[in-house]
Amino acid sequence: MSEYVPAIGLEVHVQLKTKSKMFCSCSTDFGAPPNTNICPVCTGQPGVLPTKNKKAIELAIRAGLVLNCKIQKYSLFARKNYFYPDLPKAYQISQYELPISKEGFLMVGDKKIRIIRAHLEEDAGKLLHYIGSTPVDGSLVDLNRCGIPLLEIVSYPDIDSPQMAFDYLKTLRRLLRYAGISDCDMEKGSLRCDCNVSVRKIGEKLGVKTEIKNMNSFKEVKDALTYEIERQTKVLKEGGKIFQETRLWNPKQGKTFAMRRKEEAHDYRYFPDPDLRPIFLSEEMISEQKKQIPELPADRKKRYTEMGLSEYQADVIIDEKELADYFEKVAENSNPCEAANIIITHLLRQINEKNIPYSQIPLNPQNLSELVNLKTDGKITPQIIKRIFPEMFEKNENPKKLLENIEVVSDEGEIKKIVMDAIQKNAQAWNDYKAGNEKASGRIIGFVMKQTEGSADPVKVKKILEELKNENFDS
């Protein structure tokens, strides 16, 4: 172990869930052909003016609230000036000195990660490079993303490991998705994360930080941080110096590379945007957003464990709000623990195998709760559940109806024959069972189920075993 410890701060950009862009009425739909969601305003034509999207401001308030921030009743948009072909106005409208919310925190497990600020801004466009190719040799600009509303959430360097950065991102994403603030989908560009990282000896003040960009998944964030911490530690141990610079993560090589040094950094010449009035928030606007906040993941988890779910079960179920909502509907009419169990073992497998979004689960919760009830009533074995579940899931079938088609061996005489055969073949277990070891019956019952492919009525099997024990049946 090295005596160096890292300090990590994250800058997360999330796309706010609005239908139209931040300062014009263009659509925010993902995947439209290049330069189709554009207008004079978001392409920075001469003479245009921006106008604020009210919904984006509301979502920013809501985000500030769930991140425990102080909501600023007066905040300003500023211009961040720099030249780049994906930035049509040559300035980005952002918030600088007076952000809409600041000084909050996010609980990641037991650890409190403080938030410096969460501010509104607009996204830039995208450059598509076709250098050396035909028919286009050069770079093209797609301005569809230009003007998409973003919230930049900046944390203090309170994160002390790549794993915690990973957990922070997961927790943040879950929170924002629950509250309907953002989809936080990295693949669709609705969440991006830059990291500021430095290392220092325990007890010393913060070291020189580098900023890492270009991570495409939470795992890449973790990998990039792991690499960068090792790199910095090595440099310092060898008596070298860390430069304040921006570094790009290269996922193929698993390394970060220096992009630009601080000395070459832009002077963005921020100043309040004279085209936009300040944002004035009323108490009503803030309390309205408070009302819009649903039960959040941490509260749900607490409630579920109180219902009897294990920590693990609760964590899995709350991970996605839609899954948790589904679970609640199932648990309304059945035993919650058993419901969680079946959801985790069977439902999630189907969902993952078939790659179905939670919003489109074909099986309705009523049918699933019937299945849970059959299970808790002992009327169905795990083996049968395993057999019927795929069909039930796909066709949204009532489990009772599916059971009709399954030949259940319920003739006591026949079951007794199979049980006696099982006893013959598991003599040791039978003797143990007779000697008072209840658990030993499991091996015999398992054998019976295997023979009958799970179709023997387990209640009857158990009953027969007890009878035979009382008769002191001998193998």
């Binding site: 004079p40 392409t43 920075g44 034509q45 001469p46 003479g47 245009v48 003016l49 921006p50 106008t51 604020k52 211009r79 000036n81 030249f83 072909p85 049509p88 106005k89 040559a90 300035y91 600009v141 002077d267 010449r269 921020y270 100043f271 945007d273 004279p274 085209d275 936009l276 009035r277």
Partner: protein
């Protein structure tokens, strides 16, 4: 006479008689199409708009969809407006005929229209003299009777100063009274579209069409419209007119004409103590905003592009060749003022002083109804006469304070010098009192009604 013939006459007149270089282009087809449409609709007995058939010239920084515009610059050469400014939409909806675009100082930066990439505009009263600027083309077009009315834009005096030089009415409304959507921004917190005319009634009816809240412009707001329906009555002692002592360091001749025009009015001497800082404040705030507003002219999306070896050199070649000297000078001043380490000392400080200047006016308006000043310290100067930028900046010394305070102000002809050059008188009103200014006071000073 049909609308068609009338517009045709105007077009002919502009073609033949624009010896002032007032127009950069006439929109012949657009104007004739509109005139034809009006004749058709009239024949069908339809009700036409309030400005039916009135030809309006627009300054070259106001967008008219489908027409070229340049802001008096080479950098936008060949670019066609992809949409119409709100004011143009409103004028066309009122059946006015947009007849052409007028010359201006490049990106509205200047006080003589000598900074146009398309040559200076000459003053109809003396062709050797400037028409003023930056809306010199619009002022000369009206003064030379090429059109009865024209739109301009005023950032620090760009309507009032050329109006004074050309002897016409030039009205700069309250900041935010008229939508800026479709006006190419120079200094966003100061720019305002306004009107030139000779006839105060026509000026008022054009303003009546273009003013109003626009959802495309957050800085637009409601103004006081109550005077619109109130017939003016002369009340003893009203209006009380304040003349700020800081505004009288003008030429002897201007001062004499000014004082003569004010005879018989209820005059109070007032003080606007922060006036001396106004020009300095303006030349920090306006270039700062301009440096950001003009950054989009980079050759990537529209207008002229001069390819360099790489992106940066394409930017600098395009901008180096495309912009004129004065524009580059102001971009440099603005870029410097906003730079980190200088922001507090320049931009922020200037904004604070701007607040003090606005407070001066607020205090003064507790005592008086209007503030009246000469519009300019001198009448129109000769083309090429002033070459030092600072001396040219001082041309706006009387118009800048009202711009910084966002107040409505109008320049009206007050008389002529011995050489026959017009002298303007500026009336500044309270914020949002635009209709008050138009209804009462033009009448007072010009005695035309």
């Amino acid at each position: 006479m049909s609308y068609f013939d009338e517009i045709k006459n105007y077009l002919e007149r502009i073609k033949k008689q624009d010896k002032y270089n007032a127009f950069l282009e006439i929109f012949e087809q657009r104007a004739l199409n509109k005139a034809e449409e009006l004749d058709e609709r009239k024949k069908r007995g339809e009700k036409l708009g309030n400005l039916a058939g009135i030809p309006v010239a627009v300054k070259d920084n106001i967008l008219v969809k489908g027409e070229k515009f340049t802001c008096g610059s080479k950098i936008l050469e060949g670019f066609v407006a992809p949409y119409s400014a709100t004011v143009v939409e409103k004028l066309e909806a009122a059946d006015a005929v947009i007849i052409g675009r007028t010359n201006m100082d490049e990106f509205a930066m200047g006080s003589s229209t000598e900074n146009s990439a398309y040559g200076p505009t000459k003053n109809p009263h003396d062709l050797k003299r400037v028409a003023g600027g930056s809306s010199g083309g619009s002022a000369a077009a009206v003064a030379g009777d090429l059109v009865p009315v024209a739109l301009g834009s005023d950032t620090g005096g760009s309507i009032r100063q050329p109006a004074a030089f050309c002897g016409v009415l030039g009205f700069k409304p309250t900041y935010g009274a008229v939508s800026r959507y479709g006006l190419v921004a120079f200094a966003s917190s100061l720019d305002q579209i306004g009107v030139f005319a000779k006839d105060p009634d026509l000026l008022e009816s054009v303003f009546d069409v273009i003013y109003g809240v626009d959802e495309k412009d957050e800085t637009s707001h409601k103004i006081d419209t109550s005077p619109k329906n109130v017939a003016f009555q002369r009340i003893e002692g009203y209006p009380k007119i304040g003349v700020p002592k800081e505004f009288l360091n003008c030429s002897q001749e201007v001062r004499e004409i000014f004082e003569k025009a004010l005879k018989g009015f209820n005059i109070v001497e007032i003080s606007l103590p922060h006036t001396e800082y106004a020009v300095a404040v303006y030349y920090i705030v306006a270039p700062s905003e301009a440096s950001s507003n003009l950054a989009r002219f980079d050759g990537v999306r529209y207008g002229r592009r001069i390819e360099g070896d790489d992106l940066i050199s394409t930017y600098s070649k395009t901008r180096g060749h495309g912009f004129g000297e004065e524009v580059k000078r102001r971009i440099m001043i603005g870029t410097f003022s906003l730079s980190s380490g200088y922001y507090d000392a320049y931009y922020l400080k200037a904004q604070k002083v701007r607040t003090l200047i606005a407070e001066d006016f607020r205090d003064a308006f507790k005592k008086v109804d209007y503030i009246v000043t000469p519009t300019t310290p001198t009448p129109a100067f000769k083309i090429g006469e002033i070459t030092d930028p600072l001396s040219l900046y001082l041309q706006d010394v009387y118009t800048i304070p009202a711009s910084l305070a966002g107040l409505p102000a109008i320049s009206i002809p007050a008389g002529k010098t011995k050489d026959g050059l017009p002298v303007g008188l500026q009336i500044i009103g309270k914020r949002n009192s635009d209709f008050m200014l138009l209804f009462h006071d033009i009448f007072y000073f010009t005695g035309e009604k």
